[in-house]
């Protein structure tokens, strides 16, 4: 089966003053793949995500969206967000924040339908009117996911978004993501320290170490390999 490449990292390198974070990183990600990005703290996972999101300019090489930049829509789910507990912002409103295409301040009928659909898909319909500041950790992560998905992205980045969740909630969230990954051919980049979860859900991995990068089918990723990477 041939799949379409949607993201290509070409000899990518980022160097902070006197400190190369990563160099000569080559990676091609195809539509519908589920990648886990692993490596110890400080090795450059977040820097890589920021570079992919064009928030950081690479020192060398380039990030290419294929076939054209406009063809790749990114949804991003971080671990934390600075949301005040007292904000009068319901989960439904929070999801709708990402809809910035319509010119009027209020939501159009089709935009309300989009929100309704994504709340159903993420199992948040009954919580739609709950203030996001009062939602549990798992509910919030689902709301972040729903917001990222409301504009129907084809590339979803989960940046340690399950790190603070309990095992049950974590599994629930990733089950949902993998279901969307398979049903909608949604490409997923899952940044994580949780190797068993990475092995359970993803098809390929990219490991960042101070010495360089390693990638391949997920079967090749073991906890020992990550530990070795940490201690070399």
């Amino acid at each position: 089966m041939t799949t379409t490449p949607i993201l290509k990292l070409d000899h990518l390198g980022v160097t902070f003053p006197n400190h190369p974070v990563f160099t000569d990183l080559n990676l091609t990600i195809h539509q519908g793949e589920f990648w886990s990005i692993v490596g110890k703290n400080g090795v450059g996972k977040t820097t890589l995500m920021r570079t992919i999101l064009h928030q950081l300019r690479p020192t060398h090489g380039q990030v290419q969206y294929l076939p054209h930049t406009a063809d790749v829509k990114i949804g991003y789910v971080p671990q934390f967000r600075n949301i005040d507990a007292d904000y009068p912002l319901t989960i439904q409103d929070f999801v709708g924040l990402n809809l910035t295409g319509w010119k009027w301040p209020w939501l159009s009928r089709s935009e309300r339908k989009k929100i309704e659909r994504i709340l159903t898909e993420t199992g948040l319909t009954t919580l739609a009117k709950r203030p996001i500041g009062q939602a549990s950790g798992g509910e919030r992560q689902k709301a972040y996911l729903a917001q990222a998905l409301v504009e129907a992205p084809n590339l979803l980045i989960l940046d340690e978004s399950t790190a603070s969740l309990d095992p049950v909630t974590k599994t629930e969230l990733l089950d949902l993501v993998v279901e969307l990954n398979q049903r909608l051919k949604l490409t997923v980049l899952f940044v994580t320290h949780d190797i068993p979860m990475a092995r359970k859900y993803s098809s390929r991995y990219l490991m960042l170490t101070p010495q360089g990068t390693e990638q391949g089918p997920i079967a090749g990723l073991t906890q020992e390999k990550v530990w070795e990477g940490e201690h070399v």
Binding site: H54, R81, N82, P88, L97, N98, T100
Partner: protein, 265 residues
């Protein structure tokens, strides 16, 4: 009370101010910019004093100083870790300049008092018209950028990832606050302006369930404060800013108490 033209003007101006402050206050609170708003009001005092010194209308001096400085403040305080220190430094500098300009203009203490704490009597029909035009300008810009401003104010991380022009939005918002400060300072004075730009919205936050609900409630609370303040000031002959400040502070403390009760349940 409405037989007097100055009271009719004061009520018209107060209504405009309450609407603008209710709307802008929601974003000021969401963006945690209360302190920055306070600084802009002090810069407004300095601008008004400069206007007096230069022989202009105080509002024009305020507009010049607050708009220019809002851009500078926005740049200096882009990094949150230095926001408070940068804001304090600018605030101190502008209060000093305000005092200097008043001294150079040879104006007495009562003139300074009216700039700092506002005046009901001094508002003419042409002032009201100027405030109305400025307010319409602020409302149009807010209307046009509403979705982006709401996204950036309530979920800055999401807005940045979306690729929204968050820095430009931030500076645009500060300029809008500067315009609102200049408008609102006409009644409550430059030092108490942050009352109307922060307290009604901060109170509304505890009762509203949506952002638009917060906005409507904040406008309502600001209107009650301004109208009741003007009436009480007319009846008692005490300063209007005292009554507005007291009413808005009471609303805020009631909201805090209510919130505490809700949390305890």
């Amino acid at each position: 009370m409405f037989n007097y033209e100055f009271m009719r003007n004061a009520f018209a101006a107060g209504t405009i101010i309450a609407i603008i402050c209710g709307i802008m206050g929601v974003f000021v609170i969401a963006r945690n910019m209360s302190f920055l708003t306070h600084t802009l009001s002090e810069i407004g005092f300095s601008g008004a004093a400069f206007g007096v010194f230069a022989g202009w209308a105080p509002l024009n001096g305020m507009l010049l100083f607050t708009v220019v400085s809002s851009v500078i403040v926005g740049q200096l305080s882009a990094r949150s870790e230095r926001r408070e220190a940068a804001t304090s430094a600018i605030s101190a500098l502008f209060i000093g300049l305000g005092i200097l300009f008043l001294s150079l203009a040879n104006k007495n203490a009562s003139y300074a008092t009216s700039i700092l704490f506002g005046s009901v009597i001094g508002i003419s029909a042409s002032d009201v018209r100027q405030m109305l035009w400025l307010s319409i300008l602020v409302l149009i810009v807010v209307f046009v950028i509403y979705r982006f401003l709401k996204f950036d104010s309530f979920d800055h991380t999401g807005a940045r990832v979306k690729g929204l022009w968050t820095n430009t939005l931030s500076i645009t918002f500060l300029v809008l606050v500067a315009l609102s400060v200049s408008v609102a300072a006409q009644i409550v004075g430059s030092l108490l302006i942050f009352i109307l730009l922060t307290l009604p919205a901060a109170t509304a936050k505890y009762f509203a369930h949506t952002v638009s609900g917060m906005m409507i409630l904040a406008i309502g609370l600001a209107l009650i404060g301004v109208w009741a303040g003007l009436t009480l000031s007319y009846v008692t002959n005490y300063p209007v800013s005292f009554f507005i400040a007291a009413i808005e502070a009471i609303f805020y403390f009631i909201a805090l108490g209510w919130q505490r009760l809700q949390t305890a349940e």
